[in-house]
Symmetry: D2
Subunit: 415 residues, 4 copies
């Protein structure tokens, strides 16, 4: 690890918590240079929903390279881009009756969010965007403005504007956050301007695996319709099947005006992002938002391959079943270890245990790493142990990971 | 092209100017699906300095995929990351006596710029950043704030703050822009606060291939030292050998406090960016700036391979020679076609012809495309024909491209 | 009225609602050029608490003018300034055990608020200020940022920043606004930065005569103490005895860090404002906030005379008694005219009836004007008939005014 | 002075430099409580152009008070307001062929500036305002944003936005500031958005008595017309005859779109301000900008009386002659005392000597105070001795003041 300590910036973080050099990976497993095996309950922070090094994707990539396929193309037309556009339309949009134009905003989550905010402001001619407590939308100034975390906000070094933070579902006990939002919108003396957009994650990944109720999501959409506000769903982490459906908002039966996708959209972990915009709102001028790496063709190839999982319902059902199993196990752990003061969070394969004792969640994750499980914390005080296994994990893998976790809990509680 | 028109957002731009589907590429050439060959004077907007599909890089990538190497790793430690850090230090930093820590800020140019602005603001506790007229630093709100182009700025949909635009070298005829900058800094009544940083491109790529004089760069550095301002060089487009040395600022003998690299740093066109920060200023907290795709291992592999070009001076000399040839050809064209009212711009293999007649530069580039040359315009009014061939282009390639260009000029002038 | 229509800007407002030329005034009465008499339930928007043209003040002013006293003096030392400082300290601060330094920030309400915001930001080094829904603090950009009204905010023509609007007491039915505020402050992921200050009116005059409960004020002060936030009370309209004590916050037994006074502080209606700052926070540099008209000596003279009312408790008791009478009358009207859907608002001699039917409150005030009563509406939808009689009004005056009001209600309801 | 030190805020400034208690004043003289006489070369910072305690104004005020005239009336119609509107139109606007609507924005300079910025932003729908180096427009956040002084800007405690500072006439030696401004406006890549307005003082009072050339003012107006930008002249200090004509911009033959007046507009030193807006731009909604003290009737009375000075050219001519005398005396002093490295500044009765030696100007003013002359410094480094005598001063007064000044110079230089 000397290389990293000596040459890399102090900003590095994961290599501190998991201080080993990783070498290989396949499916839900990783190995380090000592050959030690790790079960992966992290999935590259939600980027490896389809697991590590999927065989079919690997083959397609190798073939493309061997054929001197165009690797980098900005937004020039290429075959992988064409294939992706067509398959995404066929497999994802059409069956869900969604009339979105597909934008390639640059290959990162923060880029899709920045593009979403821009188009919402352009369409409405308004400036304010409403975001929610404990939201995480990215680290560039536009996205950071709608992010809740004070450490990350403070890192901007400048005040962050044009955003108003409203309470997420269940934020204040016994208070209806929709009632607040509604009151602020309808009262012309509230001090909050009519916003261009409301941006939300249906399950807040970094913010502590806070899952909004479907009913709450529906009500937010209703408010947006009543006040002519654009609804942006940031599905960067919760999308791509993470919660059991391709888009996380499908069970709420809402139709956001703009959807942000990144992370697992690239299939195998290659940088990629897309912004979905209702046709009527796709009023960009050419190049009004751009970026060099909008044409990562290798990512398009893996992305297109990944879409095969969505041609029928099997994959979705399997995720839902695994999610149910994980939920029951989490509840069991909470019951069995009351010292945790645990609370179950999340849905699908995006779940966690909130542990109401300072530092305990971090200790458990550190212990789990030593025992061969990659799992991280989330939440404003790192109080949630966050389970984000690859969606392709099998029962054996889940049990193996949960066993390590339980052992780690026991070990830490004993101390 | 129907697919792109029907399914992709209106924001697409290059596929409009070059309306064909590209399939293969090698060295300085591209082929579309009809098998038509194109000479590349664009290099993926400066991302393909080492040419398309370099054989050695292809082999390394295929080998890595075949071995199930970790593709995506955020800032976890991996072998490709380690190799890159060590080689970059050995080949680039040490020989130039540069004491920088290496930060991976997310794999795009705008990400490295956003991180540079953040650290400068953190270090100094100040908010304002001085940028220059016709600067281009990126499209997310932080980077866009220090970008000059009004169409792109307007796209933000919000006012852009914390930045002051000062005249670049030679901005106003017969006016010394340093005198102006100096006066604003020394006068406590100027209305311009002492800035955290001055950010600049030594050659403004998007802004019209405006090359600052070395003397001007030295003076800017002197001002920074006198007033304790950080100097950030955005070498995203001009770096990686584009102007004839690895960093574009080397001939000026300055040592920026922060350097932004992206585009060609990834070797073969894969998304990657790094931010170089003087050790003493590397005062980040862990994770204070982050991003999902900081660990694009395939890019690290190609990047490390690319560094081989810098182990001795041959590559640099070759670029300089090609640059001199290009300069002489540009001057010849300007002389031969006085109707262009042409002006030679830029240095190294980052040159252009500014054409003082509305729409003419665009017409020439459109005609060149039909004749098999990929070349684009730049500048606030798209008035510059911009030559950005891959650095590995040979004499034959340069001549071929210039021949097409000259034919295009003739053709367009005839009309 | 032709002169005003032809020569004065469209921005004029009161002369539209009360379209007559006023000539004389005394006590609680005004007369127009036709000799028509009006009972004043408006008191110059709270500026004439001591009534029109108080005899003693008139005498003092005339004497001062006759003696060639210095009229205008910025913050030079003059006798009227000295007298005011000493009497204000003796009569107001000392008996209430308040250790404030007195600042003259320019002679308007918005000026004292701007100075309060500045000193709070300087002391804490923070930028955000929390204000409340339906707050009104002034029309210059700093004060407007903490004002709720959307029409007035929109008039800025620029986005208003560095302020967060939180729910005032009883803002959302059955929701505890303190719980909400508390949650946003304690959660580091809330998206709301620790503020420099919380600014509030104990009774919101322009916002609809919303009176906070004493218990709520106490809790806000506790939050401020816990989080080391400065508490600013804007007592411009509610202070100077309006609610029955000199400062409106006295019954809550809180000690704000900064208090803003203007309007009636000048005694007879002459422009004046002061900012009271806890000694420990009086860390201004000389001239760090200034303004030309900080030395309006005529206002100081009337102000000093006005302080005589506070040398014992009689004046306060009288206000409280009149307030109680007014409250009972308001309740009677609400009972007697159920068509109003009336709700009693406010306390002391700052009360109102909120009327839940669009336009009705305005119609009543218009009718009252024709019948000889000056009374205006307030609230985000002009839904409150607002009673702000001079504090020196006698029982006869109150009854006379209320009689006209009741007649106006009857008349309007009949239509 | 104990009272002021013990009870008044540390923000006080003039009472530090002139530590005595002033009691009486008449014409161009003041007396303190010890009976010491002072010649006034300060005129209440330009507020007492008509001298202290003008007899006619005193009489009018006393008469009004005795008649129980309405003192305070917001923007209700009153006789003094009507008289002022009519006389201002007759005496000032009509003869100069100016078609302005008159707005009462609140009785301070910063209030008129804030209203000017608002209307310019409303009319154009743009946000940025261009101001100039060393401008001073006021201390509330809107006005402060267009003010140059860094100490005062820093006092805001927040970043100041929506303003771009451009070089005033003669700001950088041998550089044409119009060329800069022009280049930034015409270049769509300059990073400076098309502004709503350009705001300027024709002579910068606080900024160092910098007088723009008439030719420069004309060119600024031309730029405004070409780009459809509103031109705002802040004539708060330089207006009301200070430079020899009622408006300071008359000799330039320009017609600003908005003019800000305050200070001496109130005649005798009472708080008052007006904003003049070209009829076509008077598009305010009623009450869109307001303020409690818009109806200071005593000020209107003195203001109307003051207008008598402008019914013919005598007053203007007299000012011009006194200005010429002052200029010759300043030049004599500069010649006679080369140790000052003096430079003559300003025009009319708004002149100064810039002294190029740190602290010397302040020492001279301090000595002058002891010898009976009230004169202050201005400029970013307090380097200018600023002469601002009442316009009604006679030859004897001017000579008396200049004699004290010269003695003070001699005394200070001797040390």
């Amino acid at each position: 690890m000397k290389t990293f300590e000596n040459l890399e910036s102090e900003v590095r973080s994961y290599s501190r918590g998991w201080p080993t050099v990783f070498e290989k990976s396949k499916g839900y497993k990783l190995w380090d240079t000592d050959g030690k095996e790790y079960v992966d309950f992290f999935a590259g922070a939600g980027t490896l929903n389809y697991g590590h090094n999927n065989d079919a994707m690997q083959e397609k990539l190798i073939e493309y390279i061997k054929n001197d396929g165009v690797i980098h193309s900005l937004d020039m037309a290429t075959i992988p881009r064409q294939d992706f556009l067509e398959r995404f339309n066929e497999v994802i949009l059409k069956p869900r009756n969604l009339d979105y134009k597909i934008m390639f905003p640059g290959p990162t989550g923060t880029n899709t969010v920045e593009s979403a905010l821009k188009i919402a402001r352009k369409i409405t001619g308004r400036e304010t965007v409403i975001s929610f407590t404990n939201a995480f939308h990215g680290m560039t100034i536009g996205s950071l403005s709608v992010t809740g975390n004070s450490f990350k906000r403070h890192g901007a070094g400048i005040p962050l504007h044009h955003a108003v933070s409203m309470p997420f579902d269940n934020y204040v006990e016994d208070h209806d956050s929709i009632a607040y939002l509604d009151r602020f919108l309808e009262d012309s003396g509230s001090g909050v301007a009519l916003p261009a957009a409301i941006i939300l994650e249906t399950v807040q990944g970094e913010g502590g695996i806070n899952a909004a109720r479907m009913e709450w999501l529906k009500k937010v959409e209703e408010l947006c319709r009543r006040w002519d506000i654009l609804l942006i769903v940031d599905d960067v982490q919760a999308g791509n099947g993470r919660t059991g459906t391709f888009f996380s908002f499908e069970p709420a039966e809402i139709k956001p005006d703009v959807v942000c996708l990144s992370k697992s959209i690239g299939g195998i972990g290659l940088p990629m992002a897309i912004t979905l915009i209702k046709s009527e709102y796709d009023q960009w001028g050419p190049g009004e938002h751009n970026g060099t790496f909008r044409g990562n063709n290798m990512a398009f190839i893996a992305a297109t391959e990944a879409l095969k999982n969505w041609e029928n319902d099997e994959f979705a059902h399997a995720i839902q079943e695994k999610g149910a199993f994980l939920k029951s196990e989490i509840n069991r752990l909470i019951d069995q270890y009351p010292e945790l003061n645990g609370e179950a969070k999340g849905r699908g394969l995006m779940q966690g245990i909130s542990i109401d004792k300072e530092g305990l969640a971090e200790d458990i994750c550190a212990e789990a790493f030593h025992r061969g499980l990659i799992v991280e914390t989330s939440g404003p005080d790192d109080e949630v142990v966050k389970f984000l296994p690859p969606l392709i994990i099998d029962q054996e893998g889940l049990e193996k990971g949960l066993k390590i976790l339980e052992d780690s809990i026991k070990h830490v509680l004993k101390q």
